[in-house]
């Protein structure tokens, strides 16, 4: 059988459509293949999510993650206020200031040891000793006025200036303060103090002394009970020897009682007042703090603009870094789905 013969015979085996079918299909083609009414409504709602929802969701997810990452990165900086370390069972290193001017002043009534400040929720109902070390950069020419403002802030919050040292002349103007602020108001006071200059460093520590307070109270109660018992025994003593022995024991019990009272008082003082060690250092480049009334200068605007641009660039970079692998994964998934669909079709033909 020759090739033309075979081709002609194969062409003769060609299926031919019914005239009714071709006429109907021609009519539909002329009308632009109109869909049934129900299908026309259903089709867009099915297509829209497939085409646009997935990339949109991926973009939103990448943006959210980027914002969270950038916010956490920026928020963890050394200059951020309220950076109490939790849990902090380390001792608060109070600075022993070499005080040229010792100034116990501005004493106010003790405030109750409420833990409503930073980390308050973690220590609610506990006895906590707080300490903050704050270092501010202040222009040398403003050292004196800033020191005065430190006193004012301490007084405004009912605090005590335990010690202070201010030197405005010479090669290294600076100041150190050791403050005690009522614990409930300490976070706000620290924030106000931080606003007096450029924050160079800030460290907050908290120490839970609940166990020590309970022990001290128990020792106090025990000493008081011992003293009462000795006093009752002394009242019943009849011989001089017994009286002398009981008096000796009473003196010892009273010493213990006084020591226990002092310890409880000391602990309560530490709990009721947060210790703030403030250091002012000379900084020519330090910008004036916003609450000094210096106004919003073009330099401030330039700095803010630079910071905003930096944050925007960081967000964009993170979005890009997140979007690229997501897009790659999406592309691979699409390719995989296409291959699977193709394989299934070929299987249908070959089965």
């Amino acid at each position: 059988m020759s090739s033309p013969d075979l081709a002609a015979l194969l062409a003769a085996e060609r299926p031919v459509p019914r005239p009714e079918f071709t006429a109907g299909l021609d009519a539909r083609a002329a009308a632009g293949f109109p869909r049934p009414a129900r299908a026309r409504r259903a089709q867009p709602s099915l297509r829209l999510p497939r085409l646009s929802l997935a990339p949109a969701l991926a973009g939103v997810a990448a943006l959210v993650v980027a914002v969270i990452v950038v916010a956490s990165t920026l928020g963890g900086g050394s200059g951020s206020p309220e950076s109490y370390s939790l849990p902090a069972r380390s001792s608060a290193g109070a600075r022993a200031g070499s005080s040229a001017q010792s100034a116990p002043s501005a004493h106010a009534a003790p405030a109750p040891a409420d833990t409503t400040g930073a980390a308050g929720s973690a220590f609610r109902g506990r006895d906590v000793v707080r300490a903050t070390e704050l270092t501010l950069g202040v222009p040398a020419r403003r050292m004196q006025t800033t020191a005065q403002r430190v006193y004012a802030v301490a007084g405004a919050f009912g605090g005590i200036v335990d010690s202070s040292s201010v030197s405005s002349g010479g090669a290294g103007p600076g100041a150190t303060f050791t403050l005690r602020i009522p614990s409930a108001r300490a976070p706000l006071a620290v924030e106000r103090l931080a606003g007096l200059g450029r924050v160079v460093s800030q460290t907050g520590t908290t120490t839970d002394v609940t166990g020590s307070v309970i022990s001290a109270r128990e020792r106090l109660a025990s000493a008081a009970a011992l003293r009462s018992g000795i006093l009752r025994a002394l009242a019943k003593a009849s011989t001089p020897g017994a009286v002398d022995a009981l008096r000796a024991r009473l003196r010892d019990a009273e010493r213990r009682l006084a020591a226990a009272r002092a310890q409880v008082r000391s602990l309560r003082g530490q709990v009721d007042y947060a210790r703030v060690s403030l250091t002012l250092t000379s900084s020519r480049a330090a910008p004036p703090p916003p609450d000094r009334g210096g106004g919003y200068t073009p330099a401030d605007a330039l700095g803010d603009a630079g910071r905003i641009l930096g944050v925007g660039a960081a967000v964009g970079l993170v979005v890009l870094l997140l979007a690229l692998p997501l897009a790659a994964l999406g592309g691979l998934a699409t390719l995989g789905a296409r291959q699977v669909r193709r394989h299934r079709r070929e299987t249908a033909l070959g089965a």
Partner: protein, 180 residues
């Protein structure tokens, strides 16, 4: 359609520039039906799939690009996917091994006995082919696609399509000789 081994159908004018869907439809309507009917082996299903293929092609006509193949290859690719989907949906793949549809039994009444035997021989030889081989025959001799277009439809190279088609024709020819 007059399909021969020597002369392949020339590429339509719409291969360059925008797709002339009306011309493509007029030119390929019966070819698409013939190809689809060979795949699905059932006239009613073939009509449904043919209509669906043209409807899909009409909806996607803006996506056709000349650099990705001729309009006919693009259209037959759509028709192929629709036919395979139909086969999967209806689990009709077993029907591919069934007897081929007799296109026009009444028309054979007037043929000479020798001619009728030759046609029967070819029909039985076609039935002995695998589904993929019958598809190649349908694309080439029923739809008149070139090797390049067949490669585009099946996702293989032009030379591979030519090789597979050559082997299929050889197999078909041998089957015809055995039966005759």
């Amino acid at each position: 359609m007059n399909a021969t081994l020597a002369a392949a159908r020339p590429a339509p004018e719409a291969a360059v520039g925008a797709l002339d869907f009306d011309a493509l439809y007029r030119e390929a309507r019966d070819d698409v039906y013939a190809y689809v009917a060979t795949l699905v082996r059932e006239p009613a299903a073939a009509e449904d799939v043919t209509a669906l293929a043209f409807e899909r092609a009409y909806r996607k006509r803006a996506r056709w690009r000349a650099r990705r193949g001729t309009p006919r290859a693009w259209l037959f690719g759509i028709a192929r996917n629709a036919a395979l989907d139909e086969l999967r949906r209806a689990r009709r793949s077993a029907a591919l091994a069934a007897d081929p549809v007799d296109p026009a039994p009444a028309a054979e009444a007037g043929y000479a006995e020798e001619e009728r035997e030759r046609r029967l021989s070819v029909r039985e030889a076609l039935a002995s082919l695998s589904p993929r081989e019958r598809e190649l025959v349908a694309l080439r001799f029923h739809a008149g696609l070139s090797h390049g277009e067949i490669g585009g439809v099946l996702g293989i190279s032009e030379s591979n399509a030519g090789t597979q088609l050559h082997r299929t024709i050889q197999k078909l020819r041998e089957a015809c000789h055995v039966q005759s």
